[in-house]
């Protein structure tokens, strides 16, 4: 399934400095966010996977957006993905 992922707030540092990546993911069971996270951890993270995931989900402080909407609005880990979806991972910033 073709998806695009984007990173912001410094998370791109964990993915080789890339802010946008086009993916072609083969989901083992269902095309859901929980599987995408594991796939990304195993195939995409270039540094410190512990700064991306903690237990089964993203680490605290990361906002996940599916097609520009908070993934809380569509089921978080169970949110279903479809061809062409865009998933954005934003690390919350504290500086000012």
């Amino acid at each position: 399934m073709k998806l695009t992922v984007e990173f912001s707030g410094g998370l791109e540092l964990l993915f080789g400095g890339k802010k946008n990546i086009a993916l072609d993911v083969i989901f083992k069971n269902k095309a859901v966010m929980s599987e995408l996270l594991v796939w990304m951890r195993d195939n995409l993270v270039t540094e410190r996977p512990d700064l991306f995931m903690k237990s089964e989900t993203v680490r605290p402080g990361i906002l996940v957006l599916i097609n520009e909407a908070d993934w809380e609005l569509c089921g978080t880990l169970d949110a279903e993905l479809k061809e062409g979806d865009n998933v954005v991972f934003i690390s919350t910033l504290h500086g000012g």
């Binding site: 908070d70 609005l73 500086g95 000012g96």
Partner: protein, 295 residues
């Protein structure tokens, strides 16, 4: 040119004439602005433009809070300060800049760090708060105190070349900071400008956008950025507006059965909760990107 029944004096009418002329703003909005009070927590990179534009536009009472003093390395982005005021209180330095620009408004200075002990009594004095702080424990404290006292919170942040802006605790079911981030990130995931660096104009842009949201809330004009977050990538020049969740029913601050209240908040240990002092953050893992891969 204006009817007699309004509350602005002739200095205000002259000063704010470009707002009064504006079809989409006008007299009533300016009167509301002139009777509003706004607290800015943090007179740094975000607080500098926020304070200047809120002072300029005629907010009735502007509160400037910062316990820190001006350092030369602040001046690349904290444009409210001057070389002459290096070493002096940031809150007082901010007051001087705002007073020089607009003597028609009232300015109050709070030269102390926001702590759980004093947060409710200080925030309770204002209509709304701008979070221009630079660390996680202060951000949780400000949000909780705004929920407990029922004040809207205009929150922005900037690190590196990234910026974020949203309005918490606003409207029917707008979320608070804890609704979005119930668990604090580990200290090593909290980068600060002093560790990670920041392109100075980025907090400049985000702080001016914070002032705009405060003006919209105070005047009742326009669509406030609640349940939405504006995300800015300065290097690509792109703004993205994303849709956020509503209030979380289980939120410890604003949920159906909150554990934070007027009485419990002053006891809450923000240092233990976030694993960080409000005054100094951990160094950021700068070694992550080898220089060969830098932009």
């Amino acid at each position: 040119t204006y009817a007699a029944e309004h509350s602005l004096n002739k200095h205000q009418v002259e000063r704010y004439s470009r707002h009064l002329l504006l079809n989409s703003f006008g007299l009533t909005a300016q009167e509301k602005l002139c009777s509003s009070s706004v607290l800015i927590v943090g007179c740094g990179g975000l607080g500098s433009p926020a304070a200047l534009y809120l002072a300029a536009c005629g907010v009735g009472t502007l509160g400037l809070m910062d316990h820190d003093s001006v350092d030369a390395s602040n001046l690349h982005r904290q444009v409210i300060h001057t070389e002459e005021r290096v070493g002096t209180s940031k809150a007082q330095s901010g007051r001087k800049a705002c007073e020089a620009l607009n003597s028609l408004i009232k300015i109050r200075v709070h030269e102390e760090a926001l702590s759980a002990n004093i947060a409710l009594s200080i925030i309770g004095q204002y209509d709304m708060v701008l979070d221009c702080s630079d660390n996680a424990p202060t951000r949780y404290l400000i949000s909780d105190a705004c929920v407990v006292t029922g004040k809207p919170l205009v929150s922005a942040a900037a690190v590196g070349t990234d910026g974020q802006l949203t309005v918490y605790n606003y409207g029917e079911d707008g979320p608070c900071y804890r609704c979005l981030f119930p668990k604090p990130p580990a200290p090593e995931n909290c980068s600060r400008c002093s560790d990670a660096g920041v392109l100075g104009v980025v907090p400049g842009i985000m702080g001016a956008l914070q002032a705009l949201e405060a003006i919209k809330i105070a005047s009742g004009k326009g669509d406030v950025l609640n349940k939405r977050m504006l995300v800015f990538d300065a290097l690509s020049g792109k703004f993205m507006t994303v849709k956020l969740r509503s209030k979380r029913a289980g939120c410890a601050a604003c949920g159906e059965h909150p554990t934070l209240s007027m009485s419990s908040l002053p006891e809450f240990d923000y240092k233990a909760f976030t694993g960080q002092e409000a005054q100094d953050g951990p160094p950021v893992p700068l070694q992550l990107i080898p220089s060969s891969e830098r932009l």
